[in-house]
Assembly symmetry: C2
Homo-oligomer: 310 residues x 2
């Protein structure tokens, strides 16, 4: 009855909360997505996760009994202690003992991971960076997240907060960032940044203005919209060139919704890396698109749970 090794995996976003039962080979056995409770109460999010996890566990009961639960969140996470340090999108989770509580409810070990690091792990396990020992994953969405794979493993730093590529400074006196600094990459290479630049340049292509609207305008030949994606690529290149010099990666994997604008930003991104990074590491690093789409985080969280079980 329980021949297959499997785990529960979750990816908690500000809007959706996705949970799945995942086999040890990465097969998604059962998955579901529910709305993330918007009550501002941590227990409500916790209960929604527990309920979704129970549904997954029951759905695969004939095949396997999950050995652990990996949970990815858009938060600074102390990986070793499985604690949420800071959760900007769902501040009710700050310092909330989410892992301990869910573990008690379900009777299985729960491990937390930053969602971008989880996506980096997913891409390294089954996706775009599977062949590389040293890669930088960057996800361009509402914000800019990142995760590092170094020496073939997720690199988390002293506490588990490493990988915040979106908070490299690319413009010292630039736009104020939600993190408290100014000029972070996130303010120049996210969907939010594209909308801000469009507003600043008087581009009115849809109401309300969206990054998808700016993308469509650029594809139709609107030179202002084209310039926005070009500038976004330039800033992205500026930040990544610094990381190429510091980390000498084989691969940079770019995911997230804004990566759909690849053909509009990749040339200026490459040009900026060529102009700024040392020629040897700059010339050898390959830039590619993420391949697992929305599943990267869930699969990475599953991998984290499988590794924690060993």
């Amino acid at each position: 009855m329980t021949d297959t090794a499997c785990v529960v995996a979750g990816d908690v976003g500000g809007t959706n909360l996705r949970v799945a039962a995942v086999a040890s080979d990465g097969t998604i056995l059962h998955r579901l997505s529910v709305d993330t409770p918007q009550t501002g109460v941590a227990a409500d999010i916790e209960n929604a996760i527990v309920s979704a996890a129970r549904t997954c566990i029951e759905a695969v009961a004939d095949t396997c009994r999950p050995a652990g639960f990996g949970l990815a969140l858009a938060a600074l996470v102390n990986y070793r202690e499985s604690l949420i340090i800071s959760s900007p999108n769902l501040p009710e989770l700050n310092c909330h003992p989410l892992a301990a509580n869910i573990s008690r409810e379900l009777g299985i070990k729960v491990v937390l991971e930053n969602d971008a690091t989880a996506a980096a792990i997913g891409e390294h396990w089954l996706g775009a960076s599977a062949e590389a020992d040293h890669s930088i994953f960057i996800t361009l969405g509402t914000g800019v997240g990142g995760g590092l794979i170094l020496n073939g493993d997720a690199f988390r730093g002293a506490d588990g907060t490493a990988g915040e590529v979106g908070h490299i400074c690319v413009e010292p006196d630039g736009v104020e960032c939600g993190c408290g600094s100014h000029g972070c990459l996130e303010q120049y290479a996210s969907a939010t940044a594209i909308i801000r630049m469009a507003e600043e340049r008087g581009l009115a292509v849809d109401t309300p203005l969206t990054a998808a609207g700016v993308y469509a305008a650029a594809k139709s030949g609107n030179t202002t919209a084209i310039g926005i994606f070009r500038d976004m690529g330039r800033y992205l290149g500026l930040g990544l060139a610094s990381l190429v010099n510091v980390l000498n990666p084989e691969l940079i994997v770019i995911g997230g919704g804004v990566a759909r604008g690849w053909d509009l930003f990749i040339d200026s991104l490459r040009t900026e890396i060529a102009a700024r990074a040392f020629s040897y590491p700059g010339g050898r690093v390959r830039l590619i698109r993420a391949s697992l789409s929305d599943s990267a985080g869930i699969l990475g969280a599953a991998r984290v749970a499988l590794d924690a079980d060993q």
Copy 2:
């Protein structure tokens, strides 16, 4: 006769060439320093290294026979292949088969390492970062070098060029850098940068102007000189804050001649990190001075040779 395990270690700079015989516990058994040949001919440097190494090997012949030779250079080094990719100070060494030639001459294995990475390894072995698993070493001299210790080991990246902390961009349209980029940290936090800022601000404290002269003026209360060190600390903080967000280190170890200005730049450095880095990793990272001084590179090169022998 040969009870003690030992290695030969070298540190090749643009001015001096230092070679030592080092025991496996880090004791320097014999050391010497000679001028680096300025003929522009790679073979002359090679011969000078071989000659100094032979002197060291003979000096310790009663105690030990060196098992290997670790050689640190101010160059981009392909660590795995022991090749010199790019040597800005001694361009005659670019792509020169230095390790293979010296190995043939001396009959022992030769391993190359970037000098700042070697210093990081030395400080981690026997110096300031011995207790930390994750540290960033930065050396402020004529240029700005760096080395990373991650998960308790030197991190070299895909080819061995990682750690170039001096070539993080801190001012996108800033001063042109020798690496071909603009606004690299090296242009704002090195002895060269201090002299440039002093010239730009009309500070004439010695002829020719030196970083030591600017330091002395600042210690005497000269407000222009004080401002230069304060600005240098701010730029250093700007670059290091990005790395704190990306690498979540326990320690940042600062060495090199300009670190003598510690009391003049440390406050603005700390203020900038506090203002720009995420509060959790920014609050936990400790900034300390390197403790091995000029010996860090030699000791790190020795450690590299000892590790290569295992």
